[in-house]
């Protein structure tokens, strides 16, 4: 079985030039944890979502990853400090804050998509042969489809 019948249209897309503030509003409005970022011709560029938002709330050194910045327990930032950090990057563009993300095709085997969803953040952009966004797969949608006959 392929992903074809489970692919859902993307609820919304973001553009590289959108501000982080607008992206946060879009995430909240559509109730999604992650949204795809596309160019004017619809080519998939990356994703912006809760994980990228969390990165913006942390000191930049956190981007070094677990090996080089294993913990930040010594930092005593207050909630106001953290809010101030987010506010300072609210006008940054999505293009700067987005992350690359692996994609699947509609013809990809469903079991492969399940594996990628299990290993990733439960969200997969679906692209056509030209790299244009054709839809999305979410863990919820896939599981919902699979359990509906139980």
């Amino acid at each position: 079985m392929t992903c074809q019948s489970i692919v859902a249209p993307a609820p919304a897309t973001l553009a590289k030039g959108d501000s982080v503030a607008d992206a946060i509003k879009a995430l909240a409005a559509h109730g999604y944890a992650t949204l795809p970022v596309v160019d004017a011709k619809g080519h998939f560029l990356g994703v912006f979502g809760v994980r990228q938002l969390l990165a913006l709330l942390l000191p930049r050194a956190a981007r070094l990853g677990e090996d080089d910045m294993p913990d930040l327990s010594f930092v005593s930032d207050t909630a106001d400090d953290i809010k101030a950090r987010l506010k300072s990057c609210a006008k940054e563009t999505v293009g700067k804050a987005m992350a690359p993300h692996r994609t699947v095709r509609a013809e990809t085997a469903l079991v492969e998509a399940l594996l990628l969803l299990e290993r990733g953040d439960g969200f997969l952009p679906v692209v056509d042969e030209a790299g244009r966004l054709a839809g999305i797969l979410t863990a919820e949608a896939v599981i919902g489809r699979l359990v509906e006959d139980l």
Partner: protein, 448 residues
């Protein structure tokens, strides 16, 4: 460093001249390393393989060329640091010193240079910057000051600190292992010049950047609010690691008296720390931890060294380095002063633009073969110090001059603060020449 056995006589394919073939392999190996198109460990291992396959060396001769004392010292220290860093002690020290100067940006710039230099003297430079740069980036972000001055200063202090000891920088490890010069001899001979260079560069950085760095009272309060004790994640491990590190350093200091090589001391220290760290754990957990610890050893560096030793040994056996040494002695008129100063400046300039490890690995047998010209191996000491100072301090000249520089640049880039080649060189090259001038005066006054 290559053992005394000389049983192998080069027997090159098609009867080609071994010296020409070996030199061609060396030049090709270095050219590909410098191009940075292919990982340097792959290049050096391919070069070593070619040396054997064409008959310049056979396998036994190639293995004789590997300096296992250097390999054991590097690997042992990498294991010790991989375990120790998990305790959070290095972050603790960086934060503690930042708070000691009341989170003043200029004071932190100064203190981080001192901390980095001391760590670099006792550990490998790359490891030191891996430990200090992340916490520096957190501090500068909280202070809302640009990290650039701190990153440049950390590069300088790591290379200068590394100059001071036998274990501080790979060129010194190579020189120490090849010559038998002890940890104490390195500390006594290179410590003073490293200290002067550190003082001079901290003063220059203060006038260039430090005095203009300002942070608001609010930002400073945030750093003062850091809890350095929270950085310590494992107190038991911290105590074990500090005991073992102290024993290993003591071992280096007493190596001559206890008739042990630094490689044995470092590797035994690593084994001891792994033993302590795994006591009381079940077999599965031990297996997982040991696997993880070995995974943190920089195998790229280790295999780069192994291949390089073989390539250089091939060239040495084929007689090319002896010929090169004769040419160098002729060019300097056999004068020790001229030779030492030439080695210092040539090492510095070359180390600024190419990897200093292959350069030093080649220079060692070359300098050794000058012994008859200067009346014996014991008279070569000024040349070894010239090579060590030139290669270690020269690494500051450009971003590609030392592995630590590239590590800082890589970390900074990932955190969104790129350090570019040209802006770095504009500041660093001149300052590197200042440190080499200091080294030149020191060399002349003390040894020549």
């Amino acid at each position: 460093m290559h053992g005394e056995a000389q049983a192998w006589v080069p027997n090159v394919l098609f009867g080609w001249n071994p010296m020409i073939v070996a030199t061609a392999v060396l030049v090709a190996t270095y050219a590909v390393i410098m191009s940075e198109k292919i990982n340097r460990a792959i290049v050096s291992l391919v070069g070593a393989g070619v040396m054997i396959l064409v008959g310049v060396l056979n396998q036994q001769a190639a293995i004789r060329g590997v300096d296992f004392n250097t390999i054991a010292l590097l690997t042992g220290m990498m294991i010790i640091v991989a375990i120790t860093r998990k305790s959070g002690v290095f972050q603790f020290v960086a934060i503690w010193t930042a708070k000691k100067v009341k989170a003043d940006p200029a004071g932190i710039l100064f203190m981080l240079q001192i901390v980095t230099a001391v760590f670099s003297a006792l550990l490998d430079n790359v490891t030191t910057v891996l430990l200090v740069v992340p916490v520096t980036l957190v501090i500068t972000e909280e202070l809302k000051v640009k990290p650039w001055p701190y990153l440049v200063a950390l590069i300088f202090s790591s290379n200068i600190g590394g100059t001071a000891t036998l274990i501080g920088d790979p060129p010194n490890i190579l020189i120490g292992s090849a010559t038998g010069l002890t940890f104490n001899q390195f500390a006594v001979n290179l410590g003073p010049v490293a200290l002067v260079c550190l003082v001079v560069t901290t003063i220059i950085f203060h006038f260039m950047w430090g005095r203009r760095l300002h942070a608001t009272a609010e930002a400073r309060a945030r750093v003062m609010g850091f809890n350095e004790l929270e950085a310590i994640t494992d107190w038991r491990l911290l105590k074990q690691a500090l005991v073992v590190l102290t024993l290993v350093i003591l071992g280096f200091i007493l190596a001559h008296n206890i008739h042990q090589e630094p490689g044995t001391i470092a590797m035994f220290g690593a084994a001891l720390l792994m033993l302590l760290h795994n006591l009381g754990k079940d077999a599965e957990q031990q297996s997982h931890d040991v696997h993880h610890t070995f995974g943190e050893v920089e195998w790229v560096t280790i295999f780069f060294f192994i291949g390089l030793f073989m390539v250089v040994y091939g060239v040495e056996q084929a007689g090319f380095l002896h010929l090169l040494a004769e040419m160098l002695v002729n060019a300097t008129g056999g004068d020790l002063t001229v030779t030492a100063i030439a080695i210092l400046w040539a090492s510095a300039i070359l180390s600024a633009v190419v990897d200093n490890i292959p350069f030093v690995a080649t220079m060692i047998p070359l300098i050794k073969s000058m012994a008859p010209t200067f009346g014996g191996a014991e008279n070569l000491e000024p040349l070894w110090w010239a090579l060590a100072m030139g290669a270690c301090l020269g690494g500051n000249g450009t971003l590609v001059g030392a592995s630590a520089n590239l590590t800082v640049a890589g970390l900074a880039e990932r955190a969104g603060h790129p350090v570019r080649f040209v802006p770095f060189m504009k500041v660093a090259f001149g300052l590197m020449l200042v440190t080499i001038a200091i080294a030149n005066v020191y060399l002349y006054l003390r040894y020549l």
